[in-house]
Every structure is written in structure tokens, then in C-alpha cells.
Symmetry: C2
Subunit: 326 residues, 2 copies
């Protein structure tokens, strides 16, 4: 099996970011080169510390962590302690990490890694797109240097989660999102249309809790908080969305979308009721999505719903990640 | 059976407007009091003449027709001859009507009828909402005088049809649509989510063509043009949307939606990529759409797909409309 491409994850860790990192680190073939942090679920500083905690828990203290933007292009920042806990990790009060963030700012690290791996670096963005936009401004050639970008964000034929139309990652910095989605690189967008239909359950939490490893027990602990939020506020039943882990699995090539047309995507950066909305041109849906002129984004509109089982299998160590070796 | 409430139809006739009028006039219990015309599929003047043609074809030259707004609140107007033909009726070149439009402007007629039938008048809007907005400005008490308003327009969890996000009726005058949707009356919105899934087919056209009546033969003729447009431009197969007839059937109480939550609806009146978009707050979809504080609009999100058969039955005269008399 060929080694995977080097990967940089940009995230606002966050319960589902933590699950995504644990998922990725469960694959021994995955080449995680760095994690950059951004405001969103929590502050950029707290997200970096949480990332270090998760990396150390997974036995990967060697992965560098860089702190990124602490507010949007407009200077706004809104965190989500009601979703992710005051500490961003479901109030699980993990001890302080042994390591510390890198001195290199996130955007600079993105640009540097892209130059070190020309045409090979994969980016996975799990928070607001402020760092990626900053990297694009630092290096306008970045879209030609990077192999692919996978973004958890947006809502296409689906309600938003912070306004009727907008998803949180995009809404936190619509101007950066618009820049990133229209930069002309190979972008895959993983919106609420799929992350709200791949559902984690109480059964999944039990399975993780029953597992002996510290990582699985930690995952069960943060998932409890996540299920509490989703049950009380969103679903009225004990299930939770699978936002960032699903995007991670798609970035890693582990999940093949059932439907993911390449379509033009714009972001509403006005100040009306649609601010932060991702507007994908899906009008071709009746005729197999014919090719469009504008720089397309691959928008994942349907997956098969089986990912949460695979996520929990991976986190339980029940399957080797590369068990398909001939 | 109690007589139905008096009904005023506001439309931009238009192939599917014509089908909707023929459908309504096929019900002997329906109390159609007036039709007002508005720009949209064609000019307001042409829409009025087409309406007179359809009324005369259906043997109802007594129904008054009033001409309404020929452009939006902003003074813009864009017609759709590529969809509805140069004459608005699929280039079927029906002769000029015997009658003429009323001298009363559309908005004034709406206000007058609402006052003549306090609490009883139903409004069915099948075009841009410019006339209804004008009527609201003439009489701010109108929402209390009218029984219910049914509107064909918008796109909720569905692509638009004139932009990636916007449906034509709303996009033709977003400012008026916003005013009408938020006026606090009993409004039902029938968006593309359902009108693009209730599909007319070549089989329906054959059935109409085989029928002896002038109205059915006319319906078959305009449907041919409509199928041509939808096949070549939208579906790549010989089916057509059922926009206005479906809204008419819902207004008349003939079709009961499968899913039609009462939710807040806003319209994007900015100049960004979402202009003309209807933004419904459907975030409660996971928990049975709990009641919302804002003045809600009943948004039809799902119907059972059987309406086109019933439309064609009605237009073929195959069933009496009130065959359920005990």
C-alpha cells in the first residue's frame, strides 16, 4: 500500500475535532505532519492546548501544533461552550499537556509545509477558514502547491445550525470561507447535509466506554457531553452529529461519498438573513450535474450512513486501519 | 357540502397559471370572484389577456380580470418567453378574448373584495407578489380581513430555478415577497421542494389530447410546450413541473400536504448571491418542528406525488369535482 500524502489538519478542538484527530491517528499509514488551531468551538489558544492533549493521549506528541487566528477577518469571534463544554472537550478536565505549541503561526506553517511537499500536501479544515485564507494571502500560489483541501462546513439542501441558513464554521468567517472556496484548488466540502445524517448513538458511547484504552475512554467521555447537547437541543433523542470525523474520513479516502457533484459554490458575505450561507449551484441535479464553467467545489450531498460504526471501531482499536493489505 | 370561500387568484398567466385556472374552474363549488394579473411569465397586460382567454375557454367570461403591476417594487421586470412561449401560452395562438380587463387596478380590487367578504376571502398568488404588497400598502388591515393566502414560490431545501438559490416568483420582486410573507396573515407557501416533485408527463399530455373538450385540447397544447422546455433545459426527460396547479389545489383544500411545518420565513433582499431566496427556519425538523415565536408561514415541504393524475382527471372532465356528495 502506497504511503498516504502528508496531511495538515486545521481545527478548533472541540469534541468532534478531537474525535476526528483520534480517528486519523488510528491509521498507522496516515502521515499527519502538523495541526494548526483556529478560534471557533473555543479560542485558538485553547484549541491548540486541546489538540496537544489529544495528540499526547494518542501517543503522538511529536506532531507540531501551531496557533492560528483568534478571530475572523472582521475581528469577530464567538465560541461554543454550550456544545463543547467550557474546556472545549466536554468538561472532561484532561490534564494540561506536556508539550507546547510551536512558535510558528498557523498560516506560516501551512505555507511552509505546502512548499516542502509540492503538489502532495493535503489540507483538512475542521473550523472557520480564517487560517487557510491567511495562508492564501501569504502565498497566492498555494492552490497550485496543495494537492487537495477537505472542509467540514456549510449547509446545502439542509437547515443551518447557527442561523436558519448558515453552518457554524462558515458563519464564523464568511469572508474567509468565500476566499478559500473560490481559490481554484481541489476542494471537497462536507456540509451538514451529510454530517447531520451520520449519527453517533448511545450504543457507540457504550462501546467506547467498555474499551480499555485511554483514548477510547476519553472519546466516550467527550461523546457523553456531545450526546447531552444534541439530545436536549437538536434531536430530542440520544444521537449526535458526526461533523469533523466524517470530513476526516473523506479526506483520508476512507469514506466514498454516494453523491458529491462538482458545482460552483458561493458564500453569502452580506449582512442579510443569509449571511454565512453556502450557496451551491445544484440546479443540474435532475440531469446528472453537467459540468459547470465556474471553478467547482466537490460538495458531498450523500453518504451511506455507516460511518459512525467505522469511527467507533477505529477508536476501539477493533480493526487495524490497514487491514486490507493483500 | 358548504359552499367554498370566495377566492381571488393573482397570476402571471403563463402555462401553469392557465392549468391552475382550468383546474379551479373544473370545480363547480369553487367561488372564483376575480383574477388579477401581474408581470412575471409575461407582462401584466398579456397575462390579463391570457387570463380572459382561459376564462372564456372554460365558459366563465363573467369572472372579472384586473391588470396589476407591470414591474417590481424596484422597477425591474423580466419575462419568461423561453418557458411559456412568446404569447405566454406556449405559442398556441388562441384568438383574442371577447372580453376586456376591468378598469379597476389589481391592488384596489384585492382590497375591495377583502372588504366585501370580511374574514372570508382566500387569496391565491401564482406570480410575483407585487400586487399583494401593493394591496397591503393600500390597506394595512388587509391581513385581518383575508381568510388565507396561498403562494406558489420559493425554494427551501431545494435548488432555485432562476439562480442557484432563488425561485422566479420571489426573485422577481424580493422586497414585495418579504412584505407579504411577514404581514402576519395565514400564509401557506408552496415552494419548488414540492412543485418540482409533482411531475406532469407525456402520458398526461396524451390523455388530455385524446379528450374531446376544447379546454382539455388547449391544456394538451400548452403542456406540449412546457414539456419541451423542461425536457431540454431541466430534466433531460419528458416531464414538467406542476408549480401553479399544485398551489391551486392546496389553496382549494384538494391536496393535503404530507409535511407542512409552520416556520419563520424571511426573504433575502440584499444584492448578494442569495438575493430572492426564501430562508425558512427549518432547524426544528429533527424534533417535529416545535412552535416558533415569529409569525409563522406554513411551508409545504412534502406532498404525495399523486396530484398530476388528479389534475389531468379534472381537466379531462373524468371526475365530477364534488363527487363526494353523500
Amino acid at each position: 500500500m502506497a504511503p498516504k500524502n502528508p496531511l495538515l489538519v486545521d481545527c478548533d478542538t472541540g469534541i468532534d475535532d478531537a474525535l476526528a484527530l483520534l480517528y486519523l491517528l488510528g491509521d498507522p499509514d496516515l502521515d499527519l505532519r502538523a495541526v494548526t488551531s483556529v478560534f471557533g468551538n473555543t479560542s485558538a489558544e485553547a484549541a491548540a492546548m486541546n489538540t496537544l492533549r489529544v495528540l499526547e493521549l494518542a501517543g503522538r506528541p511529536d506532531v507540531p501544533v501551531a496557533v492560528g487566528a483568534d478571530s475572523s477577518t472582521r475581528g469577530t469571534a464567538r465560541f461554543a461552550p454550550h456544545v463543547h463544554g467550557a474546556d472545549g472537550l466536554g468538561d472532561t478536565t484532561l490534564p494540561a499537556p506536556a508539550g507546547a505549541p510551536s512558535a510558528t503561526p498557523a498560516a506560516e506553517l501551512i505555507v511552509r509545509l505546502a512548499r516542502e511537499h509540492p503538489g502532495r500536501l493535503d489540507l483538512l479544515a475542521l473550523g472557520p477558514l480564517t487560517n487557510l485564507a491567511a495562508a492564501l494571502r501569504l502565498d497566492p500560489e498555494l492552490p497550485r502547491r496543495v494537492r487537495q483541501v477537505t472542509i467540514m462546513g456549510g449547509a446545502i439542501h439542509h437547515p443551518g445550525n447557527v442561523t436558519p441558513a448558515a453552518e457554524a464554521n462558515i458563519d464564523n468567517d464568511p469572508e474567509s470561507a468565500r476566499l478559500v472556496l473560490r481559490a481554484g484548488w481541489d476542494v471537497t466540502l462536507v456540509p451538514l447535509d451529510v454530517t447531520m445524517t451520520e449519527l453517533l448513538t448511545e450504543r457507540h458511547r457504550h462501546r467506547l466506554a467498555a474499551c480499555g484504552t485511554p483514548a477510547a475512554r476519553f472519546a466516550a467521555g467527550i461523546l457523553r457531553h456531545y450526546l447531552d447537547f444534541y439530545e436536549s437541543t437538536v434531536f430530542s433523542r440520544r444521537v449526535a452529529a458526526c461533523h469533523d470525523p466524517l470530513a476526516a474520513a473523506i479526506a483520508a479516502g476512507d469514506v466514498s461519498p454516494v453523491l458529491a457533484p462538482a458545482v460552483a459554490v458561493d458564500v453569502d458575505t452580506g449582512d442579510g438573513p443569509g449571511r454565512g450561507m453556502t450557496i451551491a449551484d445544484t440546479r443540474g441535479q435532475y440531469r446528472g450535474f453537467p459540468a459547470q464553467d465556474a471553478a467547482p467545489v466537490c460538495v458531498v450531498l450523500r453518504t451511506d450512513g455507516t460511518f459512525p460504526d467505522r469511527l467507533v471501531e477505529r477508536l476501539s482499536g477493533a480493526t487495524a486501519a490497514s487491514h486490507d493489505v493483500a
